[in-house]
């Protein structure tokens, strides 16, 4: 690919040089044609060798890659797809980026509403309202995930850091939401009298471990 470009470039340069010498013979005063030809060929050869060397250094494997049979099959951990989605958010705005975000948003929204109802003791309507108003938690980043207007609450320095950081603000805010939900699950009290007492306790030891 780029070798071809180089060949063309060198060929073109040679043609131009040939033309120049033809028009102004004085340019090629001390050069013998053999010398020029050999130099050209040598230069081409070096370029080609360089290209080959670069390709080897890139380390692209051309041989068969047998499977790793030593280890038994490893199964996924729940939540891997969510992490994958957060990590691979398309940079360019567009329909696929929107779809991407919408998927993440929906999942987090449902989890937040359910957590607020279960562990925060709210009714579903109250939960929805609070999420939209941005009053469901103190964490500004988490709030701004669902209600971007509340993003004004984030200090400017942090917003600059978000914009410059490798991780998109979207992902950072999503993580903030998960953090808040985790805190709820750890310390919140169950809304109903259902036999969830000990399970919250188990959640409490989750935090202890």
């Amino acid at each position: 690919m780029s070798g071809r470009v180089l060949f063309v470039a060198v060929g073109a340069a040679a043609a131009v040089a040939g033309l120049a010498v033809a028009l102004r013979p004085s340019l090629a005063a001390g050069l013998s044609p053999t010398y020029v030809a050999v130099t050209l060929v040598g230069a081409l050869a070096l370029l080609q060798a360089g290209g080959a060397a670069l390709e080897r250094l890139r380390g692209e494997r051309r041989q068969a890659d047998p499977p790793e049979v030593e280890r038994r099959r490893v199964f996924p951990t729940p939540g891997e797809e969510f992490d994958e989605r957060l990590a691979s958010l398309p940079r360019r705005a567009g329909r696929s980026a929107d779809r991407h975000r919408a998927a993440v948003r929906t999942e987090l929204r449902e989890a937040t509403e359910a957590t607020l109802v279960r562990y925060g003791g709210l009714t579903p309507e109250e939960a929805t309202d609070r999420i939209e108003e941005g009053t469901w938690t103190e964490d500004v980043r988490a709030v701004s995930f669902f209600a971007p207007e509340a993003a004004r609450g984030i200090p400017l320095t942090e917003r600059v850091r978000d914009a410059l950081g490798a991780e998109r603000a979207f992902a950072r805010r999503a993580r903030a939401v998960v953090g808040v939900l985790e805190a709820y699950a750890r310390t919140g009290r169950p809304a109903s009298a259902a036999d969830d007492g000990a399970s919250t306790n188990r959640a409490a030891t989750d935090g202890d471990e």
Partner: protein, 444 residues
Amino acid sequence: MSEARGRDEPDPGRRATPGETLDRETHRWRGVNALSLAAGALGVLLGQPALLLVAVVGVAFGGFALAARPPDVRVELSRELERTAAGPEEPIRVTVTVRNAGDSLLPDIRLVDGVPDALDVVGGSPRTATALRPGKAATFSYTVRAARGDHEFDPVTVLARGFSGAIERETAVRARGDDRLACTPRLDVGDPLPLRGLTTGYTGRVVTDTGGPGTEFHAVREYRPGDPLSRIDWKRAARTGEYATLEFRRERAATVVLLVDTRETAYLAPDADAPSAVERSVAAAGELFTSLLSTGDRVGLGAFGPGAYWLAPGAGEGHRARARSALATDGAFAPTPREEPFFPGLELRRLRRRLPADAQVVLFSPLCDDYVVRAARRLDAYGHPVTVVSPDPTADGSAGETLARIERRLRCSRLREVGLRVVDWRPGEHLGAAVAAAQARWSG
């Protein structure tokens, strides 16, 4: 496809199927011609004829590489297993022999044995590289650790090259000899599981003239003519002169069906070294099966997943043996997910038909997707009380994992809200402890 040396080369990750050959150019000698040319040019420019000889040497190797052809690979492979039936964790030695059945030298032949998906290699190496003259053979061996299941060895991946190494041919060859390893864990229970409440086996009040195990004092009522004399509360009669009859409650044997979630979405694990949720479910089902049988209940077994398995509730040693064998080696409970499609709606309908009217269900599932919650509620609504034993495969190392853990906990809560009992069984915990903790919640 097989002999072409063109641009569309098989991807390194693609494997050959038995009988198919894949040829790949390794580009090992790429650049040798260019370097020779460069050396030659340098030689002319600098007037150093020796460099031209360097170029000749380079061209010789270039020609050597150019002359490469995919080798004609004809090998016979045979495999021998130390034992073809084992208990879990036992080391089993596997010995593979390769023989050159062609009539030309194979100077570079590499083999990777098809160790089954669910087994670990714990000693030696399942790979080898050697050179074989026609008719000669070589062997290599390694050790695997047995694990529950009926494991089939895959074909051996064979990679061969000529002397120049410029072209590689890949084939897959099935080895003759042993190709299955069956491992059946014992179903013995160390400490019996605390089962009270796990199954709702209590009937109403019964006047019984037999005491014995399984009866429990319930209440006293007024004497009615015809009550058995042995059940008269004589202490009270002596004290007050009135006759009263004791009533007992007899635990009736329950009919329980153990249902294991074996869908592909249930094969989850918190990390690479931990057993999968299905593995834990199968182990738990085995324990529970034995425990329930020993307390006189009738127990059945089913798989909710691609492999169809159904054992109607029954009792007896033969029944136990059937369940043990199925949980160990039936494809429905395999340690790795099956490829076939699964139609959960159909399966639920089939379950509804098969479940005896008075059967209750113990469902083993990691509860990591929403469908299983609906399925459990539906079974419960059909009139079969459902208890869920849920091995927890979640972790909390990242945002996604934490979210999944929260979502699972929410599913447990949703089930409990509608009256299903859920045993949240954490990794590393004994099943008995988890059940006991759950029962403390139910009765407390």
